[in-house]
Amino acid sequence: MTADILLQVLVSGLLIGLIYALVAVGLTLIFGVMDIVNFAHGEFLMLGMYASFWAFALFAIDPVVALPFTALLLFAVGVVVYQTVIRRILKAPMLSQIFATFGLMILLRGLAQFFWKPDHRLIPHTLVGGNVVLGPVQLGLPQVVAALGAVGVTGALWLFLHRTRLGTALEATAIDREAATLMGIDGQKMFALAWGIGAACAGVAGGLIATFFPIFPEVGSNFILIAFVVVVLGGFGSVTGAFLAGIIVGLIEVMGGFLIGPEYKTALVLSLLLIVLLVRPKGLLGKA
């Protein structure tokens, strides 16, 4: 009986961890390519959730079906943010860089609150309702689909970075910007691409969790913090590291919630951050 419960807890942790990984992958990609932390990353996720919500509310399109559109939309948002704001602060002092994306975070939250009210919204009937029973383990179908989707997108990103010309160029820019420029890689284009992909990853993650998570303007704040822990644990800039760390963080969160109490699970995950910083500041697979 206890073994069954343990298994249930572990599988739930794995599922949520895979989604954390997807959110963190975008954050770590942007950081890796241009040394800028996107404080508005959680807001990209929030926009992805609202995109799903409105696709459902206005056009009756299921969040899962809407995913490609959500991804495209958020890719566009990421590129627009890069072109309008980030491009101008690339050489600015670090303080300006922090304030720019931090201001963006507040702006997007404010706009969401202004246009869509601070209410919590839910998408009532999705294609992926109900439960799946796997032996002793019972899981929500939305969570399972979201986790599988997250694995798919993270895997696709990995393939893109390692197996395509464009992706390799992006990786090269992350490793050494100057050398990449000398090889004829257009740095500006790569930066815009990183923002597009990063935002799209967060948006897809938002679309995936919109099937089971309430949607509200400040929903990003929880995820950005956890994504940050994942990025630190995985090692700054490492996509593979973020994937592994996402799973670990998911497991710790759910296990901690189970053993200590659900109200402390976020605090536990955030304390992990301080422990990693003390014991292994470069994270699992970090370079620096």
């Binding site: 950081f31 040394d35 800028i36 932390v37 404080f39 704001v85 101008r88 602060i89 600015a92 002092p93 670090m94 303080l95 300006s96 860089q97 922090i98 304030f99 720019a100 931090f102 201001g103 963006l104 975070m105 507040i106 702006l107 939250r109 404010g110 706009l111 969401a112 609150q113 202004f114 009210k117 601070p118 303007p217 704040s221 913090l225 940050f228 822990v229 630190v232 700054f236 109490g261 109200e263 402390y264 976020t266 605090a267 955030l270 304390s271 951050l273 301080l274 910083l277 003390l278 500041p281």
Partner: protein
């Protein structure tokens, strides 16, 4: 700057005139709501100046300063409730606890460079908020009320808003003086070296961690005093009112808007921020509409992109570019003491 006289007489006169104006201002106002508005500005200004010591001078951006604010509020309130300690002593105790906390948390977090340090401070503030919300000892989400039966100067509880105005004005003056003293001392030069040229500073033998910790501790102490003051003024605290993320954001915003790393920039930032907040509230009915957030977020992005030194930097840039720059004597005395 180090070669100049200790105090520039013109600047000193300007500062005294400003202070005298601030001291007389509340006597001309009878509406308690207006007076409260001024108190809110002074509170925001005090926190902004305190934040600026670590975020502006030393360049270590904290987005979790609510934790120090909350520590101040909870320490003085708990000491008052359990031991009957006067809030005047509780003030210092709150500051001391905040310093200990700053040292404990700063040590691991200062291993992080800029962006990630800022993120870590959010995480720390979040952890503390969760722990306090679930703490029975601190009455968790229910909050703590100050006893209403004690009033008068010894208990720092007053029926009128006026004494609060003068207390927070005094605290603001102390905070500005501390910031000013740091700005002029060798510590201030180390802070700026850490901010602008960390590698060079390290090569010259400046201990980065030690000076970052000093900056954070001083800032934490003063922010905690602001928190204790808030508790005395409101007579009620809970995690949502003294430890919330929104408070951390507000503290940072005040300094960023007005001018990071400038002595009086945060004061200007506080005037702008609180005014926007109050007017968007009266214009759009409620705080839930998010309009104040949109306005000041747009302002921060503009400041970050076009003028990293804030509104104050923008003003001094403008003056420099005007023909016969700095010709307006009335404004010039006030802003001349601030370097972008």
């Amino acid at each position: 700057m180090s070669n100049g006289p200790l105090v520039n007489p013109r600047k000193a006169m300007g500062a005294l005139a400003l202070l005298a104006g601030a001291a007389v201002l509340p006597l001309l106002i009878s509406d308690p709501a207006r007076l409260n508005f001024l108190v809110l500005i002074l509170m925001a200004a005090q926190m902004g100046v305190a934040w600026n010591i670590v975020g502006g001078y030393a360049g270590q951006v904290s987005l979790g300063h609510a934790v120090f604010f909350g520590i101040g509020a909870y320490t003085s309130t708990m000491l008052g409730l359990s031991l009957g300690l006067s809030p005047w002593l509780g003030w210092l105790a709150g500051g001391a606890v905040a310093v200990l906390f700053a040292l404990a948390v700063g040590w691991p977090c200062f291993r992080l460079k800029g962006h990630y340090f800022a993120m870590a401070t959010i995480a720390v503030a979040e952890i503390v908020q969760i722990l306090v919300t679930n703490s029975d000892f601190l009455e968790g989400a229910v909050g703590l009320s100050l006893p209403l039966d004690r009033s008068g100067p010894a208990a720092m509880v007053f029926l009128s808003k006026l004494p609060y105005y003068y207390i927070i004005l005094g605290l603001l003056v102390v905070t500005v003086l501390v910031a000013w003293a740091i700005e002029r001392s060798h510590i201030g030069y180390y802070f700026r070296a850490i901010k602008d040229e960390p590698e060079a500073a390290r090569a010259l033998g400046v201990s980065l961690t030690r000076y970052k910790l000093i900056a954070l501790s001083v800032s934490a102490f003063l922010t905690a005093m602001g928190g204790s003051f808030y508790a005395q003024k409101e007579m009620f605290i809970d995690p949502g009112s003294v430890l919330a993320t929104s408070i951390s954001i507000k503290i940072a915003l005040v300094a960023i808007l007005g001018g990071v790393g400038t002595l009086l920039g945060p004061v200007l930032g506080a005037v702008i921020l609180i005014t926007i907040e109050e007017y968007s509230r009266t214009l759009f009915g409620s705080t839930g509409s998010g309009t104040d957030m949109i306005i000041y977020a747009a302002m921060i992005i503009l400041v970050a992109v076009f003028s990293p030194s804030g509104v104050l930097g923008l003003l001094s840039d403008l003056r420099r570019h005007l023909p016969g720059g700095g010709a307006k004597p009335k404004k010039a005395t006030k802003s001349a003491e601030i370097r972008p």
